[in-house]
């Protein structure tokens, strides 16, 4: 009955040589994750000084999307719940952050602590919405869950139009964001600051997620995904676990949405359409479902692929008549074709492919040594 449940990532629990569990602890998980995150943070700072502003902005966008895809991959990949509505959760976070920032600005409040406060409010707001959806979702499976979350994805942007007194309809709200602190110097590039802010928030969120995955909760998530009956026999409260997974995933989606709003300095319903929800799902599956690195690849693809395909089409010199037909459409066609080919050639996504490559290289290295 796996078909009525969402995805199972490729088996990775057992080492194929000895059948020993791979998950051998070496030192504290937290410390190890902390080290990785710190290294990534330092690297990000270094990179932010070497690349030009637009790349900084793109990386910041990757970070914001990574936040959302990481949460989605935990929900769908590890807990087996399919969500087509994460774009709506991002919208919830984005609008909450926008309303907070506007409220602060209107009252003339300034200070470096306001932005974290808005982001926190965005998380709280999205957790509330996520809990409601999650309670409903815990009763549903497979396509029925897909149907409800799809409806959520359509409803939330529509609410922004219905209650245009608060959300200003299609035009959306602007998000006042303060310039970089003066201590960084008067000419500190704004895009670099954006990368720092989103990068820091995302790394923190991912650190927490990584620890959650390795914790007891992570194991119950997987147990529920693999076999609900067995999980129940083992004393796991299935529905509660599913709601928890949904809430966690909603929190990161909300943070991702809030970060996007801060990056764009605006929110509007058109940016959080059903298309976004579908693209997020494509991203986590293409990246490699159930793994945070896969979610990272997915986020990278979301930002880089349209850009790459656009540059590719720009290199062609065409007559105006042909160019008008291809313009915009060719990148989409390439994007669609890539999705299909990757899914057929590498069902484990990019990360699955890389792991396979990595294992092959390691195996060859061992063969040579012995």
């Amino acid at each position: 009955m796996s078909a009525t449940r969402a995805a199972l990532p490729p088996k990775q629990q057992l080492d194929e040589r000895g059948g020993r569990p791979v998950d051998r602890r070496r030192g504290s998980t937290l410390l190890r994750h902390l080290a990785v995150v710190l290294a990534a943070g330092l690297l990000l700072v270094a990179v932010s000084y070497t690349v030009e502003p637009f790349r900084n902005f793109q990386l910041a966008t990757v970070a914001a999307y990574f936040c959302a895809t990481a949460g989605l991959t935990v929900l769908t990949g590890l807990n087996g719940q399919l969500s087509l509505g994460h774009g709506a959760l991002m919208a919830t976070g984005a609008y909450t952050a926008a309303l907070c920032q506007t409220a602060f600005a209107d009252r003339g409040m300034t200070g470096g602590w306001l932005l974290p406060l808005s982001l926190g409010a965005a998380i709280v707001g999205t957790v509330a919405v996520g809990a409601v959806v999650g309670v409903a979702a815990a009763r549903l499976r497979g396509p029925y869950l897909a149907g409800v979350t799809l409806a959520v994805a359509v409803v939330v942007p529509a609410l922004a139009v219905t209650f245009d007194g608060v959300f200003n309809g299609e035009q959306g709200l602007s998000v006042p964001v303060e310039p970089p602190p003066l201590s960084l110097g008067p000419y500190f590039p704004y895009e670099r600051w954006q990368l720092w802010v989103t990068g820091a928030a995302t790394l923190l969120a991912v650190l927490l997620l990584a620890n959650l995955i390795r914790s007891r909760y992570g194991r119950t998530f997987r147990a529920v995904r693999d076999d609900e009956v067995a999980a129940r026999l083992a004393g796991i409260h299935v529905a509660r676990t599913q709601v928890l997974a949904f809430v966690v995933s909603a929190a990161t989606a909300g943070l991702g949405g809030a970060l996007l709003a801060v990056l764009a300095q605006s929110v509007s319903p058109g940016a959080f359409s059903l298309t976004l929800s579908l693209f997020l799902l494509m991203a986590v599956v293409i990246g490699g479902l159930g793994r945070l690195t896969g979610a990272l690849w997915g986020a990278v693809l979301l930002v880089a692929l349209p850009d790459l395909t656009h540059s590719l089409t720009e290199m062609l010199t065409l007559s105006p008549a042909v160019a008008q037909r291809l313009e915009g459409n060719l990148p989409l066609a390439i994007f669609g074709l890539t999705l299909i080919v990757v899914m057929i050639a590498a069902p484990g996504g990019v990360q699955g492919l890389l792991s396979r490559l990595g294992r092959a290289v390691l195996a060859r290295g061992r063969a040579r040594r012995s």
Binding site: M1, A6, R139, A146, G147, V154, T162, G336, L339, M343
Partner: protein, 292 residues
């Protein structure tokens, strides 16, 4: 009262089309356990073929037939060339491939036909006949009801009474056993895809004259409504798809008529939750719907 009658009839005629499209989704779900997100794009592609044929020959009916044939072929093609090669171990993979197909098909249609709306002709008058001062059904509405009635009863007959239908059901529910019993499971799967895509193309031909016109994205919104309809009815149940389609059509019509068209998405969500929280497998699911 007049308005109520008007909204009811209007809702039913749109609901009938959602029903046909939902039926196509149900067919593929039953045959392959895949929610075919590319259904809308595939149907639009078939409709574009019909448009080309009708424009070249001047015959609506030739285009109509060609659309259905194109739909059948496209369905078989998608199964043989793409879906057959997708790893179905994870049910998400086919969904992602279907989404990739949507992008690809819509982009190709955009390249070939441009992004302008093309007129979608209706074969019969869409002017409503009035009964007692109230505009009721148009000849076109009657045509839609009749066509969908024929399709639904035809499919019901096929699944219940013909060997092909039996083999399809067997292949879908117990592929291994069926294979042992000599059923060509792969062939049945392709047939299921073709059939579903053909019904989808038919639904597109019926719904497009009531929409903005022919456009690569013309079926996006219809797909969302039809998917909702299929879920409300229960994805395993063809009668569920029909009832679900009519219910969704009515809800959309009443809400936009009485409350305002911006509230329709919310109404759809409420409908879904109301149905699914009571019956998590849709209205027409068997009672023991929740299998674990």
């Amino acid at each position: 009262m007049d308005r109520f009658v008007f909204l009811t009839v209007d809702g039913l005629s749109r609901g009938a089309v959602y029903a046909a499209f939902a039926l196509a989704l149900v067919l593929i779900w039953r045959a392959a356990r895949v929610v075919n997100f590319a259904q809308g794009a595939m149907a639009v592609a078939a409709a574009y073929v019909a448009y080309t044929v009708s424009a070249a020959t001047g015959s609506y009916w030739l285009g109509f037939v060609v659309a259905i044939v194109a739909g059948l072929l496209l369905g078989a093609l998608v199964d043989r060339v793409v879906m057959r090669h997708v790893d179905h171990a994870s049910p998400l993979n086919p969904v992602i491939v279907a989404l990739g197909l949507v992008l690809l098909i819509q982009a190709v249609l955009g390249m070939v036909y441009g992004s302008e709306f093309r007129p979608a002709e209706a074969p019969f008058s869409r002017s409503a006949l009035t009964v007692g001062g109230v505009a009721v059904l148009s000849p076109y509405d009657l045509f839609v009801f009749a066509t969908i009635g024929v399709v639904v009863s035809g499919l019901a007959w096929m699944f219940a009474r013909t060997p092909v239908g039996l083999r399809m059901r067997a292949a879908a529910f117990a592929p291994e056993v069926s294979r042992l019993l000599g059923v060509n499971v792969g062939g049945m799967l392709t047939f299921g895809w073709a059939l579903a895509s053909g019904v989808g193309a038919l639904a597109a031909m019926l719904v497009l004259p009531t929409e903005l016109g022919l456009h690569p994205h013309a079926m996006d919104l219809v797909f969302v409504s039809a998917f909702t309809a299929a879920v409300v009815g229960g994805l395993d149940s063809p009668p569920g798809a029909v009832v679900g389609g009519l219910v969704v059509g009515l809800v959309l019509s009443y809400v936009s008529g009485y409350a305002g068209s911006d509230l329709t998405p919310l109404a759809v969500l409420v409908l879904l939750l109301a149905v699914l929280l009571v019956r998590p497998g849709g209205l027409f699911a068997p009672v023991a719907a929740r299998r674990v």
